[in-house]
């Protein structure tokens, strides 16, 4: 079992920070190149490419965050839990950048359209709802909030399951025909949620046999 001391924890957290920031750094570099030279490797529609890259990493980090608990149990490494909050906050950060790119680079001043889009386009409705739900989770991610909310903290943060489903739907519903990529993430989410469901059922049936016996 990995029991990191303060130095090891600091080093490993720094490493995770660097890894989580890498996609953003690469994108920033490409945006800079696009701005300076007109070719940054973002293709003919850099706005779409930026939106897509940010959204993809928000989703990936969200799924990685959801993988911490099962991984922790399967590998018997409780220390993994120390990384869950920071990964969750990175997911929120990428999601916020994704929304910002949409508002600033994509809509480009057609602000009135955003209300219509949120209401009329299902894929934007669920995407925006997912981001909105991330807000209370991000705000209550602090040590102080965990202490203050007590048992309710865990209940509130179960929202992450809804958020993950909405995020996958958001991706699935914007694709024209090739659903292979969103289907892959749906599959991963199904496994991550299914594992929890299976654990819950086992716990319930274990309690039943215990009381019955």
């Amino acid at each position: 079992m990995w029991r990191p001391g303060p130095r090891a924890l600091f080093a490993s957290k720094t490493l995770v920070h660097l890894l989580a920031l890498t996609p953003a750094a690469i994108l920033a570099w490409q945006i800079r190149a696009e701005f300076l030279t007109g070719s940054g490797g973002l293709g003919a529609d850099p706005v779409a490419a930026i939106e897509h890259r940010l959204g993809l990493w928000a989703l990936r980090l969200l799924l990685i965050t959801l993988a911490i608990t099962p991984l922790r149990q399967l590998t018997n490494q409780p220390a993994l839990l120390r990384f869950r909050r920071m990964l969750g906050l990175y997911a929120f950060a990428y999601a916020t950048l994704h929304l910002t790119a949409y508002l600033v680079l994509d809509l480009r001043g057609f602000w009135a359209q955003i209300f219509e889009e949120i209401v009329k386009r299902p894929y934007i409705t669920v995407g925006f709802a997912a981001w909105l739900m991330l807000l209370p989770l991000a705000i209550t991610s602090t040590q102080a909030a965990i202490r203050r909310l007590g048992r309710n903290w865990a209940r509130l943060h179960q929202l992450v399951y809804v958020i993950a489903v909405l995020a996958v739907l958001h991706f699935w519903w914007l694709v024209k025909s090739d659903i292979r990529e969103p289907a892959m993430y749906a599959g991963i989410l199904a496994v991550l949620l299914g594992w929890r469901a299976w654990k819950k059922l086992r716990a319930i049936s274990a309690r039943r046999t215990a009381t019955a016996g």
């Binding site: 293709g43 003919a44 706005v47 914007l174 025909s177």
Partner: protein, 322 residues
């Protein structure tokens, strides 16, 4: 009407300028064929085109636009050509496996002179001309492309379509050996498209063989493709191997995949949204300013070609026949 009342009129109720300008022809069409004016009268087929001619002089004005062009590099690296992969970068990155010579087109159906013709024979005698058209993708982006091609009407007339030829159906090559993307059924191959006969004969409709004066590259639909600038880009079918004159409205690939989202006509229309996204505006990928700040512009009815094409749709409920 007070100014306040006037401001309350939703834009969806304002008569489209192109229709307003043709209002006398609109009324004449009603008078000449009253039964056609009733929407929903015939559910299976749309009403036939009204007898309104578009003069060559009117049409000619749509052949070029003075808007900033899209860069060759962007036109040739951002492509929806699922036969080579569903990512927009796939078609340009795929190996050059499409054999564009020899190339033949099988022309058949209701015509006096059907036959399989080589590409060179198909356009023999016609001097390719440059047309600078806007291309509006159904996804909400657009480009301005300098095509090189010949009018489809001139080519089709050689085959002498009969009176039964109400529609023209087109088919793309779907050879898994030359097109790796065909292995995945993102579309029910082969890719098919179609036009009503008057749309096919419209002076704007182009059979294109080049871009920027150079022969079409694989990713742009080499060696022969259609360009129908007033419709969403997927109607501009690529790498054509068959042209058929048919009597009934032909099935098209995207309509078959999702009939609620992709209609047969698919005329660019800002007042008819795609079920999943708005069509009111588009991102223009063109010009020399940084593509990071690519402009979002209002989408124009018929992609700005209303003068040349609106006459073909007078009396047609464009919300029903999208």
């Amino acid at each position: 009407m007070s100014l306040r009342d006037a401001l309350k009129i939703p834009s969806s109720q304002i008569t489209d300028e192109a229709v307003y300008r043709k209002r006398r022809q609109f009324l004449a069409a009603f008078a000449a064929v009253p039964a056609l004016a009733l929407p929903g009268c015939s559910e299976a087929e749309p009403p036939p085109p009204p007898k309104v001619a578009i003069t060559p002089a009117q049409a000619r004005s749509g052949f070029r636009t003075d808007e900033p062009l899209t860069r060759f590099e962007d036109i040739t690296t951002y492509n929806n050509f699922y036969e080579f992969g569903t990512d927009k970068a796939d078609p340009s990155q795929a190996k050059r496996t499409l054999r564009t010579r020899p190339w033949s087109v099988a022309v058949g159906g209701h015509c006096a002179k059907p036959g399989t013709v080589s590409l060179d024979d198909l356009i023999k005698g016609f001097t390719p001309e440059e047309r600078v058209y806007r291309l509006r993708c159904v996804e909400g982006w657009s480009m301005v492309i300098p095509w090189l091609g010949v009018p489809l009407s001139a080519v089709l007339k050689r085959f002498q379509p009969t009176a039964q030829a109400k529609f023209v159906a087109f088919t793309t090559l779907a050879d898994p050996k030359q097109m790796p993307g065909v292995a995945y059924r993102s579309i029910d191959w082969p890719y098919r498209e179609g036009l009503r006969i008057d749309e096919a004969m419209n002076p704007l409709t182009l059979l294109a063989t080049g871009i920027y004066g150079k022969p079409l590259l694989q990713q742009n639909g080499a060696p022969l493709r259609l360009v129908v600038p007033w419709k969403y880009g997927f109607k501009s079918i690529k790498s054509i191997v068959a042209i058929d004159f048919v009597e009934k409205m032909p099935e098209t690939a995207w309509h078959e995949l999702q009939p609620s989202e992709y209609g047969f006509f698919s005329n660019v229309n800002p007042s008819v949204d795609h079920p999943r996204w708005s069509q009111k505006t588009e991102r223009r990928i063109a010009g020399t300013t940084s593509k990071l700040f690519a402009e979002r512009i209002p989408t124009r009815m018929f992609n700005g070609y209303a003068d040349q094409v609106a006459g073909m749709y007078t009396g047609l409920d464009l919300k029903k026949w999208f």
